[in-house]
Protein backbone atom coordinates (compact mmCIF):
# COMPACT_ATOMS: atom_id res chain seq x y z
CA UNK A 1 0.00 0.00 0.00
CA UNK A 2 2.86 2.35 0.85
CA UNK A 3 4.30 1.84 -2.63
CA UNK A 4 0.92 2.77 -4.11
CA UNK A 5 0.71 5.94 -2.02
CA UNK A 6 4.22 7.00 -3.01
CA UNK A 7 3.50 6.35 -6.68
CA UNK A 8 0.29 8.38 -6.52
CA UNK A 9 2.09 11.27 -4.81
CA UNK A 10 4.76 11.29 -7.52
CA UNK A 11 2.06 11.23 -10.22
CA UNK A 12 0.38 14.22 -8.60
CA UNK A 13 3.63 16.16 -8.46
CA UNK A 14 4.25 15.37 -12.14
CA UNK A 15 0.80 16.70 -13.08
CA UNK A 16 1.43 19.89 -11.12
CA UNK A 17 4.79 20.40 -12.83
CA UNK A 18 3.10 20.03 -16.24
CA UNK A 19 0.38 22.51 -15.34
CA UNK A 20 3.08 24.81 -14.01
CA UNK A 21 4.81 24.61 -17.39
CA UNK A 22 1.57 25.61 -19.14
CA UNK A 23 1.00 28.49 -16.71
CA UNK A 24 4.60 29.64 -17.09
CA UNK A 25 4.49 29.47 -20.90
CA UNK A 26 1.30 31.55 -20.83
CA UNK A 27 3.00 34.17 -18.72
CA UNK A 28 6.16 34.15 -20.81
CA UNK A 29 4.86 33.90 -24.39
CA UNK A 30 1.30 35.28 -24.50
CA UNK A 31 1.64 39.00 -24.98
CA UNK A 32 4.72 40.87 -23.78
CA UNK A 33 4.82 41.14 -19.97
CA UNK A 34 7.11 44.18 -20.15
CA UNK A 35 4.79 46.07 -22.45
CA UNK A 36 1.80 45.16 -20.31
CA UNK A 37 3.42 46.46 -17.14
CA UNK A 38 4.96 49.65 -18.49
CA UNK A 39 2.31 50.97 -20.87
CA UNK A 40 2.93 53.47 -23.67
CA UNK A 41 5.44 55.90 -22.15
CA UNK A 42 8.58 53.92 -21.52
CA UNK A 43 12.28 54.37 -22.11
CA UNK A 44 14.79 51.76 -23.10
CA UNK A 45 16.24 51.97 -19.58
CA UNK A 46 12.81 51.17 -18.08
CA UNK A 47 12.46 48.17 -20.35
CA UNK A 48 15.89 46.87 -19.37
CA UNK A 49 15.17 47.40 -15.67
CA UNK A 50 11.82 45.56 -15.78
CA UNK A 51 13.25 42.77 -17.92
CA UNK A 52 15.93 42.33 -15.30
CA UNK A 53 13.40 42.50 -12.44
CA UNK A 54 11.19 39.86 -14.02
CA UNK A 55 14.24 37.74 -14.77
CA UNK A 56 13.44 37.64 -18.49
CA UNK A 57 17.14 37.67 -19.36
CA UNK A 58 17.72 34.25 -17.78
CA UNK A 59 17.51 31.02 -19.76
CA UNK A 60 14.16 29.26 -20.12
CA UNK A 61 14.75 26.45 -17.56
CA UNK A 62 16.09 28.93 -14.98
CA UNK A 63 13.02 31.13 -15.48
CA UNK A 64 10.73 28.12 -15.13
CA UNK A 65 12.36 27.03 -11.87
CA UNK A 66 12.15 30.59 -10.53
CA UNK A 67 8.48 30.78 -11.55
CA UNK A 68 7.73 27.54 -9.69
CA UNK A 69 9.67 28.76 -6.66
CA UNK A 70 7.63 31.96 -6.59
CA UNK A 71 4.36 30.07 -7.15
CA UNK A 72 5.06 27.76 -4.21
CA UNK A 73 5.47 30.86 -2.04
CA UNK A 74 2.18 32.23 -3.35
CA UNK A 75 3.83 34.92 -5.46
CA UNK A 76 2.22 35.12 -8.91
CA UNK A 77 3.39 38.56 -9.93
CA UNK A 78 1.35 41.69 -10.56
CA UNK A 79 -2.05 41.86 -12.28
CA UNK A 80 -1.80 43.73 -15.61
CA UNK A 81 -5.20 45.29 -15.11
CA UNK A 82 -5.34 46.15 -11.42
CA UNK A 83 -1.63 46.77 -10.85
CA UNK A 84 -1.73 44.89 -7.52
CA UNK A 85 -0.23 41.62 -6.32
CA UNK A 86 -2.26 38.74 -7.76
CA UNK A 87 -2.00 36.81 -4.47
CA UNK A 88 -3.57 39.77 -2.66
CA UNK A 89 -6.49 39.98 -5.11
CA UNK A 90 -7.14 36.25 -4.90
CA UNK A 91 -6.97 36.19 -1.10
CA UNK A 92 -9.59 38.95 -1.09
CA UNK A 93 -11.91 37.00 -3.42
CA UNK A 94 -11.36 33.48 -2.13
CA UNK A 95 -13.74 33.59 0.88
CA UNK A 96 -16.72 34.39 -1.37
CA UNK A 97 -16.06 31.40 -3.64
CA UNK A 98 -15.22 29.01 -0.81
CA UNK A 99 -18.36 29.92 1.14
CA UNK A 100 -20.50 29.47 -1.98
CA UNK A 101 -18.84 26.15 -2.86
CA UNK A 102 -19.16 24.94 0.73
CA UNK A 103 -22.86 25.69 0.98
CA UNK A 104 -23.48 24.14 -2.46
CA UNK A 105 -21.57 20.98 -1.61
CA UNK A 106 -23.43 20.66 1.70
CA UNK A 107 -26.76 21.14 -0.08
CA UNK A 108 -25.81 18.65 -2.79
CA UNK A 109 -24.63 15.94 -0.41
CA UNK A 110 -27.38 16.19 2.21
CA UNK A 111 -30.26 16.48 -0.25
CA UNK A 112 -28.66 14.13 -2.76
CA UNK A 113 -28.14 11.30 -0.28
CA UNK A 114 -31.50 11.93 1.41
CA UNK A 115 -33.50 11.95 -1.82
CA UNK A 116 -31.48 9.04 -3.18
CA UNK A 117 -32.37 6.88 -0.19
CA UNK A 118 -36.00 8.03 -0.34
CA UNK A 119 -36.43 7.25 -4.04
CA UNK A 120 -34.74 3.88 -3.61
CA UNK A 121 -36.94 2.78 -0.70
CA UNK A 122 -40.15 3.98 -2.35
CA UNK A 123 -39.05 3.04 -5.82
CA UNK A 124 -42.56 2.87 -7.27
CA UNK A 125 -44.06 5.65 -5.18
CA UNK A 126 -45.72 8.68 -6.74
CA UNK A 127 -43.38 11.22 -5.11
CA UNK A 128 -40.31 9.18 -6.00
CA UNK A 129 -41.34 9.12 -9.65
CA UNK A 130 -41.92 12.86 -9.69
CA UNK A 131 -38.49 13.46 -8.14
CA UNK A 132 -36.78 11.20 -10.69
CA UNK A 133 -38.47 12.87 -13.67
CA UNK A 134 -37.69 16.36 -12.39
CA UNK A 135 -34.08 15.41 -11.88
CA UNK A 136 -33.82 14.36 -15.52
CA UNK A 137 -34.87 17.84 -16.60
CA UNK A 138 -32.47 19.35 -14.05
CA UNK A 139 -29.53 17.48 -15.58
CA UNK A 140 -30.25 18.62 -19.13
CA UNK A 141 -30.68 22.32 -18.26
CA UNK A 142 -27.45 24.31 -18.65
CA UNK A 143 -26.32 25.86 -15.34
CA UNK A 144 -26.76 29.44 -16.46
CA UNK A 145 -30.36 28.86 -17.50
CA UNK A 146 -31.16 27.39 -14.07
CA UNK A 147 -29.67 30.52 -12.51
CA UNK A 148 -31.71 32.83 -14.74
CA UNK A 149 -34.87 30.81 -14.05
CA UNK A 150 -34.34 31.05 -10.28
CA UNK A 151 -33.68 34.79 -10.54
CA UNK A 152 -36.85 35.22 -12.55
CA UNK A 153 -39.04 33.29 -10.11
CA UNK A 154 -37.61 34.29 -6.73
CA UNK A 155 -36.15 37.74 -7.39
CA UNK A 156 -38.25 39.27 -10.18
CA UNK A 157 -41.70 37.72 -9.71
CA UNK A 158 -41.80 36.96 -5.97
CA UNK A 159 -39.16 39.46 -4.85
CA UNK A 160 -38.14 37.27 -1.91
CA UNK A 161 -34.41 37.00 -2.55
CA UNK A 162 -31.76 39.29 -4.03
CA UNK A 163 -30.70 38.59 -7.61
CA UNK A 164 -27.04 39.56 -7.43
CA UNK A 165 -24.08 40.17 -5.10
CA UNK A 166 -23.22 38.87 -1.67
CA UNK A 167 -25.21 41.17 0.58
CA UNK A 168 -23.45 42.65 3.62
CA UNK A 169 -20.31 40.91 4.78
CA UNK A 170 -18.50 40.90 8.12
CA UNK A 171 -14.70 40.80 8.37
CA UNK A 172 -13.12 38.23 10.65
CA UNK A 173 -9.40 38.79 10.30
CA UNK A 174 -8.74 38.74 6.53
CA UNK A 175 -11.74 36.48 5.91
CA UNK A 176 -14.96 38.24 4.92
CA UNK A 177 -18.03 36.19 5.65
CA UNK A 178 -21.63 36.57 4.52
CA UNK A 179 -22.94 34.08 7.07
CA UNK A 180 -23.40 36.58 9.89
CA UNK A 181 -25.81 39.05 8.30
CA UNK A 182 -29.38 38.51 7.16
CA UNK A 183 -28.75 39.94 3.69
CA UNK A 184 -25.65 37.78 3.33
CA UNK A 185 -27.58 34.62 4.18
CA UNK A 186 -30.39 35.55 1.82
CA UNK A 187 -27.96 36.31 -0.98
CA UNK A 188 -26.27 32.91 -0.88
CA UNK A 189 -29.45 30.82 -1.29
CA UNK A 190 -30.05 31.18 -5.04
CA UNK A 191 -26.40 30.89 -6.16
CA UNK A 192 -25.86 27.87 -3.91
CA UNK A 193 -28.90 26.06 -5.33
CA UNK A 194 -27.84 26.90 -8.90
CA UNK A 195 -24.34 25.62 -8.32
CA UNK A 196 -25.28 22.51 -6.35
CA UNK A 197 -28.30 21.32 -8.33
CA UNK A 198 -26.40 19.31 -10.92
CA UNK A 199 -24.21 17.65 -8.29
CA UNK A 200 -27.28 16.96 -6.17
CA UNK A 201 -29.05 15.10 -8.99
CA UNK A 202 -25.88 13.20 -9.77
CA UNK A 203 -25.43 12.05 -6.16
CA UNK A 204 -29.12 11.28 -5.83
CA UNK A 205 -29.17 9.05 -8.92
CA UNK A 206 -26.01 7.31 -7.84
CA UNK A 207 -27.22 6.65 -4.28
CA UNK A 208 -30.53 5.38 -5.65
CA UNK A 209 -28.89 2.98 -8.10
CA UNK A 210 -26.44 1.66 -5.49
CA UNK A 211 -29.18 1.32 -2.85
CA UNK A 212 -31.40 -0.66 -5.22
CA UNK A 213 -28.53 -3.02 -5.84
CA UNK A 214 -27.66 -3.46 -2.16
CA UNK A 215 -31.30 -3.88 -1.09
CA UNK A 216 -31.46 -7.02 -3.24
CA UNK A 217 -28.55 -8.76 -1.50
CA UNK A 218 -28.83 -11.69 0.84
CA UNK A 219 -27.53 -9.99 3.93
CA UNK A 220 -30.32 -7.39 3.72
CA UNK A 221 -32.85 -10.19 3.48
CA UNK A 222 -31.18 -11.82 6.45
CA UNK A 223 -31.29 -8.55 8.39
CA UNK A 224 -35.02 -8.33 7.67
CA UNK A 225 -35.44 -11.94 8.78
CA UNK A 226 -33.67 -11.09 12.02
CA UNK A 227 -36.42 -8.55 12.60
CA UNK A 228 -34.26 -5.43 12.59
CA UNK A 229 -36.10 -2.13 12.28
CA UNK A 230 -36.49 -0.68 8.79
CA UNK A 231 -34.42 2.28 9.78
CA UNK A 232 -31.51 0.15 10.97
CA UNK A 233 -31.61 -1.84 7.74
CA UNK A 234 -31.88 1.10 5.38
CA UNK A 235 -29.32 3.35 6.99
CA UNK A 236 -27.10 1.07 9.07
CA UNK A 237 -26.75 -1.76 6.58
CA UNK A 238 -27.75 -0.62 3.10
CA UNK A 239 -26.59 3.01 2.95
CA UNK A 240 -23.24 2.22 4.57
CA UNK A 241 -22.38 -0.21 1.80
CA UNK A 242 -23.14 2.27 -0.96
CA UNK A 243 -20.63 4.78 0.35
CA UNK A 244 -17.51 3.90 -1.66
CA UNK A 245 -18.77 5.01 -5.08
CA UNK A 246 -20.69 7.89 -3.50
CA UNK A 247 -17.57 9.27 -1.84
CA UNK A 248 -15.59 8.97 -5.08
CA UNK A 249 -18.16 10.87 -7.09
CA UNK A 250 -18.74 13.44 -4.35
CA UNK A 251 -15.03 14.07 -4.01
CA UNK A 252 -14.53 14.56 -7.71
CA UNK A 253 -17.62 16.75 -7.91
CA UNK A 254 -16.24 19.15 -5.29
CA UNK A 255 -13.59 20.02 -7.86
CA UNK A 256 -16.22 20.68 -10.51
CA UNK A 257 -18.24 22.78 -8.08
CA UNK A 258 -15.29 25.14 -7.81
CA UNK A 259 -14.85 25.19 -11.60
CA UNK A 260 -18.55 25.66 -12.33
CA UNK A 261 -18.61 28.48 -9.80
CA UNK A 262 -17.29 30.55 -12.73
CA UNK A 263 -20.70 30.32 -14.41
CA UNK A 264 -22.79 30.79 -11.28
CA UNK A 265 -20.69 33.72 -10.15
CA UNK A 266 -21.20 35.41 -13.52
CA UNK A 267 -24.98 34.92 -13.45
CA UNK A 268 -25.29 36.30 -9.91
CA UNK A 269 -22.37 38.76 -10.10
CA UNK A 270 -20.97 36.99 -7.04
CA UNK A 271 -17.63 38.66 -6.19
CA UNK A 272 -15.54 35.47 -6.10
CA UNK A 273 -12.50 34.00 -7.81
CA UNK A 274 -14.52 32.66 -10.76
CA UNK A 275 -15.77 36.11 -11.71
CA UNK A 276 -12.19 37.35 -11.34
CA UNK A 277 -11.06 34.65 -13.79
CA UNK A 278 -13.71 35.54 -16.37
CA UNK A 279 -12.74 39.20 -16.17
CA UNK A 280 -9.09 38.20 -16.49
CA UNK A 281 -9.90 36.31 -19.70
CA UNK A 282 -11.84 39.23 -21.12
CA UNK A 283 -8.96 41.62 -20.46
CA UNK A 284 -6.18 39.07 -21.15
CA UNK A 285 -4.78 39.53 -17.64
CA UNK A 286 -2.28 36.67 -17.90
CA UNK A 287 -0.83 36.68 -14.32
CA UNK A 288 -4.34 36.29 -12.86
CA UNK A 289 -5.17 33.52 -15.34
CA UNK A 290 -1.94 31.68 -14.57
CA UNK A 291 -2.48 31.97 -10.81
CA UNK A 292 -6.07 30.73 -11.07
CA UNK A 293 -4.91 27.79 -13.19
CA UNK A 294 -2.25 26.84 -10.64
CA UNK A 295 -4.60 27.14 -7.66
CA UNK A 296 -7.38 25.14 -9.30
CA UNK A 297 -4.88 22.44 -10.33
CA UNK A 298 -3.50 22.10 -6.84
CA UNK A 299 -7.05 21.74 -5.57
CA UNK A 300 -8.03 19.15 -8.20
CA UNK A 301 -4.88 17.11 -7.74
CA UNK A 302 -5.22 17.16 -3.94
CA UNK A 303 -8.87 16.10 -4.10
CA UNK A 304 -8.06 13.26 -6.50
CA UNK A 305 -5.25 12.09 -4.27
CA UNK A 306 -7.37 12.22 -1.12
CA UNK A 307 -10.24 10.36 -2.79
CA UNK A 308 -7.87 7.63 -3.98
CA UNK A 309 -6.37 7.25 -0.52
CA UNK A 310 -9.79 7.34 1.18
CA UNK A 311 -10.69 4.07 -0.57
CA UNK A 312 -8.23 2.25 1.63
CA UNK A 313 -9.66 3.80 4.76
CA UNK A 314 -13.28 3.05 3.87
CA UNK A 315 -12.95 -0.36 2.30
CA UNK A 316 -10.44 -2.67 4.02
CA UNK A 317 -10.93 -5.27 1.26
CA UNK A 318 -9.11 -3.00 -1.19
CA UNK A 319 -5.82 -2.87 0.69
CA UNK A 320 -5.88 -6.66 1.02
CA UNK A 321 -6.38 -6.90 -2.76
CA UNK A 322 -3.64 -4.45 -3.49
CA UNK A 323 -1.08 -6.28 -1.38
CA UNK A 324 -1.87 -9.65 -2.97
CA UNK A 325 -1.61 -8.16 -6.44
CA UNK A 326 1.76 -6.75 -5.51
CA UNK A 327 0.95 -3.06 -5.86
Amino acid sequence: MLAYVIRRVFQSIFVLLMVGLVAFSMFRFVGDPVENLLGQERTQADIERVRDQLGLNDSFPVQYVKFLGNAVQGNFGISYRQGRQVSEIIAERAPATLELAGVSAFFAVVLGVGLGVFTAIRRDGFMANIIMTTSLIGVSLPTFLIGILLIYVFAVELGWLPSFGRGETVKIGWWSTGFLTESGLKAIILPAITLGLYQMTLIMRLVRAEMLEVLRTDYIKFARARGLSKRAINFGHALKNTLVPVITVTGLQIGSIIAFAIITETVFQWPGVGLLFINAIQFVDIPVMAAYLMLISVMFVLINLIVDLLYFVIDPRLSADASTRGH
Binding site: V30, L145, Y152, I263, Q282, F300
Partner: protein, 304 residues
Protein backbone atom coordinates in the same frame (compact mmCIF):
# COMPACT_ATOMS: atom_id res chain seq x y z
CA UNK B 1 -31.33 3.47 -54.23
CA UNK B 2 -30.11 0.15 -52.91
CA UNK B 3 -28.38 1.86 -50.02
CA UNK B 4 -31.64 3.56 -49.05
CA UNK B 5 -33.71 0.39 -49.18
CA UNK B 6 -30.98 -1.44 -47.29
CA UNK B 7 -31.12 1.18 -44.60
CA UNK B 8 -34.93 1.09 -44.43
CA UNK B 9 -34.79 -2.67 -43.94
CA UNK B 10 -31.98 -2.48 -41.38
CA UNK B 11 -32.13 -3.38 -37.73
CA UNK B 12 -31.19 0.16 -36.75
CA UNK B 13 -34.07 1.74 -38.65
CA UNK B 14 -36.51 -0.78 -37.17
CA UNK B 15 -35.37 0.12 -33.67
CA UNK B 16 -35.64 3.80 -34.56
CA UNK B 17 -39.28 3.43 -35.73
CA UNK B 18 -40.15 1.58 -32.55
CA UNK B 19 -38.87 4.35 -30.27
CA UNK B 20 -41.24 7.34 -30.12
CA UNK B 21 -38.70 9.38 -28.12
CA UNK B 22 -36.06 8.92 -30.82
CA UNK B 23 -38.51 9.83 -33.60
CA UNK B 24 -39.64 13.04 -31.86
CA UNK B 25 -36.05 13.97 -30.98
CA UNK B 26 -35.02 13.37 -34.60
CA UNK B 27 -37.86 15.49 -35.98
CA UNK B 28 -37.09 18.39 -33.61
CA UNK B 29 -33.37 18.22 -34.42
CA UNK B 30 -34.02 18.03 -38.16
CA UNK B 31 -36.44 20.99 -38.03
CA UNK B 32 -33.93 23.10 -36.10
CA UNK B 33 -31.04 22.17 -38.41
CA UNK B 34 -33.11 22.89 -41.53
CA UNK B 35 -34.33 26.25 -40.24
CA UNK B 36 -30.74 27.16 -39.38
CA UNK B 37 -29.58 26.13 -42.86
CA UNK B 38 -32.29 28.12 -44.60
CA UNK B 39 -32.31 31.01 -42.12
CA UNK B 40 -31.79 33.71 -44.80
CA UNK B 41 -34.87 32.42 -46.68
CA UNK B 42 -37.15 31.93 -43.65
CA UNK B 43 -36.22 34.92 -41.52
CA UNK B 44 -38.50 37.95 -42.08
CA UNK B 45 -35.49 40.30 -41.82
CA UNK B 46 -31.71 40.16 -41.72
CA UNK B 47 -31.11 41.22 -38.13
CA UNK B 48 -27.51 42.25 -38.84
CA UNK B 49 -28.30 44.54 -41.73
CA UNK B 50 -28.69 47.88 -39.96
CA UNK B 51 -30.62 49.26 -42.96
CA UNK B 52 -33.57 46.91 -42.49
CA UNK B 53 -34.05 47.80 -38.81
CA UNK B 54 -36.42 50.42 -37.51
CA UNK B 55 -35.76 51.70 -34.01
CA UNK B 56 -39.46 52.57 -33.68
CA UNK B 57 -40.16 48.83 -33.69
CA UNK B 58 -38.17 48.39 -30.47
CA UNK B 59 -39.72 46.27 -27.70
CA UNK B 60 -42.70 45.09 -29.77
CA UNK B 61 -44.60 42.45 -27.87
CA UNK B 62 -44.83 38.98 -29.41
CA UNK B 63 -47.78 38.62 -31.78
CA UNK B 64 -49.17 42.11 -31.15
CA UNK B 65 -48.93 45.05 -33.58
CA UNK B 66 -46.34 47.66 -32.58
CA UNK B 67 -47.88 50.83 -31.11
CA UNK B 68 -45.98 53.18 -33.43
CA UNK B 69 -45.46 51.31 -36.68
CA UNK B 70 -48.30 48.80 -36.53
CA UNK B 71 -45.95 46.02 -37.65
CA UNK B 72 -46.41 42.60 -36.05
CA UNK B 73 -43.58 40.29 -34.98
CA UNK B 74 -44.42 36.70 -33.95
CA UNK B 75 -41.82 36.55 -31.19
CA UNK B 76 -41.49 40.31 -30.58
CA UNK B 77 -38.44 42.54 -31.03
CA UNK B 78 -35.49 43.59 -28.89
CA UNK B 79 -34.49 47.13 -27.88
CA UNK B 80 -33.14 47.95 -31.34
CA UNK B 81 -36.18 46.71 -33.21
CA UNK B 82 -34.59 43.45 -34.28
CA UNK B 83 -37.08 40.65 -34.87
CA UNK B 84 -36.43 38.03 -32.16
CA UNK B 85 -37.53 35.20 -34.47
CA UNK B 86 -34.91 36.22 -37.04
CA UNK B 87 -32.12 36.61 -34.48
CA UNK B 88 -32.93 33.13 -33.17
CA UNK B 89 -32.67 31.63 -36.67
CA UNK B 90 -29.33 33.32 -37.28
CA UNK B 91 -28.15 32.48 -33.76
CA UNK B 92 -29.10 28.84 -34.26
CA UNK B 93 -26.96 28.87 -37.38
CA UNK B 94 -23.90 30.00 -35.44
CA UNK B 95 -24.56 27.68 -32.47
CA UNK B 96 -24.92 24.67 -34.78
CA UNK B 97 -21.95 25.65 -36.93
CA UNK B 98 -19.69 25.99 -33.89
CA UNK B 99 -21.07 22.79 -32.34
CA UNK B 100 -20.65 20.69 -35.50
CA UNK B 101 -17.20 22.05 -36.34
CA UNK B 102 -15.93 21.62 -32.78
CA UNK B 103 -17.13 18.01 -32.64
CA UNK B 104 -15.64 17.29 -36.09
CA UNK B 105 -12.33 18.75 -34.97
CA UNK B 106 -12.36 16.79 -31.70
CA UNK B 107 -13.37 13.63 -33.54
CA UNK B 108 -10.56 13.80 -36.11
CA UNK B 109 -7.93 14.80 -33.57
CA UNK B 110 -9.06 12.28 -30.94
CA UNK B 111 -9.48 9.39 -33.40
CA UNK B 112 -6.08 9.91 -34.99
CA UNK B 113 -4.31 10.18 -31.64
CA UNK B 114 -6.22 7.19 -30.28
CA UNK B 115 -5.40 5.14 -33.37
CA UNK B 116 -1.71 6.00 -33.21
CA UNK B 117 -1.56 5.39 -29.44
CA UNK B 118 -3.31 2.04 -29.68
CA UNK B 119 -1.47 0.79 -32.77
CA UNK B 120 2.09 1.81 -31.95
CA UNK B 121 1.88 1.31 -28.18
CA UNK B 122 5.01 1.84 -26.08
CA UNK B 123 6.21 5.32 -25.32
CA UNK B 124 3.95 7.12 -27.83
CA UNK B 125 0.95 5.46 -26.21
CA UNK B 126 2.10 6.43 -22.71
CA UNK B 127 2.68 10.07 -23.64
CA UNK B 128 -0.62 10.53 -25.47
CA UNK B 129 -2.73 8.82 -22.84
CA UNK B 130 -0.96 10.56 -19.97
CA UNK B 131 -1.79 13.93 -21.53
CA UNK B 132 -5.36 12.72 -21.95
CA UNK B 133 -5.54 11.68 -18.30
CA UNK B 134 -4.23 15.02 -17.11
CA UNK B 135 -6.73 16.89 -19.25
CA UNK B 136 -9.57 14.68 -18.04
CA UNK B 137 -8.90 15.74 -14.44
CA UNK B 138 -10.17 19.20 -15.35
CA UNK B 139 -13.74 20.01 -16.39
CA UNK B 140 -14.02 20.60 -20.15
CA UNK B 141 -15.47 24.08 -19.70
CA UNK B 142 -12.40 25.16 -17.72
CA UNK B 143 -10.06 23.84 -20.42
CA UNK B 144 -12.08 25.60 -23.11
CA UNK B 145 -12.02 28.89 -21.16
CA UNK B 146 -8.27 28.66 -20.75
CA UNK B 147 -7.63 27.93 -24.45
CA UNK B 148 -9.94 30.78 -25.36
CA UNK B 149 -8.03 33.12 -23.04
CA UNK B 150 -4.64 32.12 -24.43
CA UNK B 151 -5.82 32.44 -28.04
CA UNK B 152 -7.22 35.86 -27.25
CA UNK B 153 -3.87 36.91 -25.86
CA UNK B 154 -2.05 35.76 -29.00
CA UNK B 155 -4.31 37.41 -31.60
CA UNK B 156 -3.93 41.16 -32.09
CA UNK B 157 -6.97 43.12 -30.78
CA UNK B 158 -8.15 44.27 -34.23
CA UNK B 159 -8.66 40.68 -35.42
CA UNK B 160 -10.28 39.36 -32.25
CA UNK B 161 -13.90 39.69 -33.38
CA UNK B 162 -13.19 38.13 -36.77
CA UNK B 163 -11.44 35.06 -35.42
CA UNK B 164 -13.65 34.66 -32.31
CA UNK B 165 -15.80 31.95 -33.90
CA UNK B 166 -12.75 29.93 -34.98
CA UNK B 167 -11.13 30.32 -31.58
CA UNK B 168 -14.37 29.06 -30.04
CA UNK B 169 -14.33 25.97 -32.27
CA UNK B 170 -10.68 25.33 -31.43
CA UNK B 171 -11.28 25.77 -27.68
CA UNK B 172 -14.32 23.48 -27.51
CA UNK B 173 -12.73 20.94 -29.86
CA UNK B 174 -9.50 20.75 -27.88
CA UNK B 175 -11.43 20.37 -24.63
CA UNK B 176 -13.31 17.37 -26.01
CA UNK B 177 -10.86 15.12 -27.94
CA UNK B 178 -10.03 12.88 -24.97
CA UNK B 179 -13.27 10.88 -25.14
CA UNK B 180 -12.65 10.00 -28.78
CA UNK B 181 -9.01 9.11 -28.20
CA UNK B 182 -9.87 6.76 -25.34
CA UNK B 183 -12.59 4.91 -27.22
CA UNK B 184 -10.62 4.58 -30.47
CA UNK B 185 -7.52 3.46 -28.58
CA UNK B 186 -9.51 0.81 -26.73
CA UNK B 187 -11.03 -0.50 -29.95
CA UNK B 188 -7.66 -0.40 -31.73
CA UNK B 189 -6.03 -2.50 -29.00
CA UNK B 190 -8.65 -5.18 -29.66
CA UNK B 191 -8.55 -4.97 -33.45
CA UNK B 192 -4.80 -4.88 -33.94
CA UNK B 193 -4.38 -8.51 -32.81
CA UNK B 194 -7.08 -9.84 -35.10
CA UNK B 195 -6.23 -11.97 -38.10
CA UNK B 196 -7.18 -9.49 -40.80
CA UNK B 197 -4.66 -7.00 -39.42
CA UNK B 198 -1.99 -9.69 -39.26
CA UNK B 199 -2.81 -10.59 -42.86
CA UNK B 200 -2.55 -6.98 -43.97
CA UNK B 201 0.82 -6.73 -42.26
CA UNK B 202 1.98 -9.93 -43.98
CA UNK B 203 1.17 -8.69 -47.47
CA UNK B 204 3.28 -5.65 -46.64
CA UNK B 205 0.79 -2.82 -46.23
CA UNK B 206 2.22 0.24 -44.57
CA UNK B 207 1.20 1.00 -40.92
CA UNK B 208 -0.55 4.18 -42.08
CA UNK B 209 -2.76 2.24 -44.51
CA UNK B 210 -3.50 -0.46 -41.94
CA UNK B 211 -4.57 2.10 -39.37
CA UNK B 212 -6.76 4.18 -41.67
CA UNK B 213 -8.20 1.56 -44.04
CA UNK B 214 -8.43 -1.53 -41.86
CA UNK B 215 -8.71 -0.58 -38.20
CA UNK B 216 -10.44 2.80 -38.29
CA UNK B 217 -13.63 1.60 -40.08
CA UNK B 218 -14.09 -0.99 -37.34
CA UNK B 219 -14.07 1.60 -34.57
CA UNK B 220 -16.67 3.91 -36.13
CA UNK B 221 -19.76 2.67 -34.26
CA UNK B 222 -18.80 3.93 -30.79
CA UNK B 223 -17.23 7.05 -32.33
CA UNK B 224 -20.59 7.95 -33.86
CA UNK B 225 -22.33 7.59 -30.49
CA UNK B 226 -19.77 9.76 -28.73
CA UNK B 227 -19.97 12.33 -31.54
CA UNK B 228 -23.74 12.69 -31.06
CA UNK B 229 -23.50 13.08 -27.29
CA UNK B 230 -20.53 15.42 -27.73
CA UNK B 231 -22.60 17.55 -30.09
CA UNK B 232 -25.13 18.25 -27.34
CA UNK B 233 -22.31 19.02 -24.91
CA UNK B 234 -20.55 21.24 -27.46
CA UNK B 235 -23.74 23.21 -28.12
CA UNK B 236 -24.19 23.78 -24.38
CA UNK B 237 -20.48 24.61 -23.96
CA UNK B 238 -20.70 27.16 -26.77
CA UNK B 239 -23.82 28.70 -25.25
CA UNK B 240 -22.15 28.83 -21.84
CA UNK B 241 -18.98 30.49 -23.16
CA UNK B 242 -20.99 33.00 -25.17
CA UNK B 243 -23.18 33.64 -22.15
CA UNK B 244 -20.06 34.32 -20.08
CA UNK B 245 -19.10 36.91 -22.70
CA UNK B 246 -16.04 35.05 -23.95
CA UNK B 247 -17.59 33.31 -26.96
CA UNK B 248 -19.36 34.53 -30.08
CA UNK B 249 -19.01 38.33 -30.48
CA UNK B 250 -22.10 40.62 -30.48
CA UNK B 251 -21.69 41.06 -34.24
CA UNK B 252 -22.30 37.32 -34.72
CA UNK B 253 -24.53 36.38 -31.79
CA UNK B 254 -25.15 32.70 -31.07
CA UNK B 255 -28.02 31.48 -28.89
CA UNK B 256 -25.81 31.94 -25.81
CA UNK B 257 -25.07 35.56 -26.74
CA UNK B 258 -28.80 36.19 -27.28
CA UNK B 259 -29.56 34.81 -23.81
CA UNK B 260 -26.85 37.02 -22.36
CA UNK B 261 -28.39 40.06 -24.03
CA UNK B 262 -31.90 38.99 -23.02
CA UNK B 263 -30.92 38.63 -19.37
CA UNK B 264 -30.52 42.41 -19.25
CA UNK B 265 -34.24 42.87 -19.92
CA UNK B 266 -35.39 40.37 -17.29
CA UNK B 267 -36.18 43.05 -14.72
CA UNK B 268 -37.92 45.46 -17.09
CA UNK B 269 -40.50 42.88 -18.18
CA UNK B 270 -39.47 42.24 -21.82
CA UNK B 271 -39.36 38.52 -21.11
CA UNK B 272 -39.54 37.44 -24.78
CA UNK B 273 -36.03 38.65 -25.64
CA UNK B 274 -34.72 36.04 -23.18
CA UNK B 275 -37.37 33.34 -23.20
CA UNK B 276 -37.47 32.29 -26.87
CA UNK B 277 -33.71 31.94 -27.43
CA UNK B 278 -33.52 29.99 -24.16
CA UNK B 279 -36.33 27.64 -25.21
CA UNK B 280 -34.68 27.10 -28.60
CA UNK B 281 -31.37 26.23 -26.95
CA UNK B 282 -33.16 23.87 -24.60
CA UNK B 283 -35.06 22.10 -27.38
CA UNK B 284 -31.86 21.70 -29.40
CA UNK B 285 -29.69 20.41 -26.54
CA UNK B 286 -32.38 18.09 -25.22
CA UNK B 287 -33.29 16.52 -28.56
CA UNK B 288 -29.67 15.95 -29.61
CA UNK B 289 -29.00 14.47 -26.17
CA UNK B 290 -31.96 12.08 -26.39
CA UNK B 291 -30.89 11.07 -29.90
CA UNK B 292 -27.40 10.30 -28.62
CA UNK B 293 -28.78 8.24 -25.72
CA UNK B 294 -30.97 6.28 -28.09
CA UNK B 295 -28.11 5.67 -30.51
CA UNK B 296 -25.90 4.42 -27.68
CA UNK B 297 -28.50 1.87 -26.62
CA UNK B 298 -29.33 0.88 -30.21
CA UNK B 299 -25.71 0.27 -31.17
CA UNK B 300 -24.84 -1.49 -27.91
CA UNK B 301 -24.62 -5.22 -28.68
CA UNK B 302 -25.08 -6.07 -25.00
CA UNK B 303 -28.61 -4.66 -25.00
CA UNK B 304 -29.81 -6.45 -28.13
Amino acid sequence: MEAVSNFLASDLFYRFRKSPVAVVAFIVTALLVLSALFAPLIAPQNPFDAGSLNLMNGFSKPGEPNQFTDETFILGTDDQGRDVFSTILYGLRISLFVGFSAVMFAMVLGSVLGLVAGYTGGRTDTIIMRIADIQLTFPAILVALLIFGIAKGITPPSYRNEVAIWVLILAIGLSDWVQFARVVRGATLVERNKEYVQAAKLIGRKPMAIMLKHILPNTLGPVLVIATISLALAIIAEATLSFLGVGAPPTQPSLGTLIRIGQGFLFSGEYWILLYPALTLLALALSVNLLGDWLRDALNPKLK
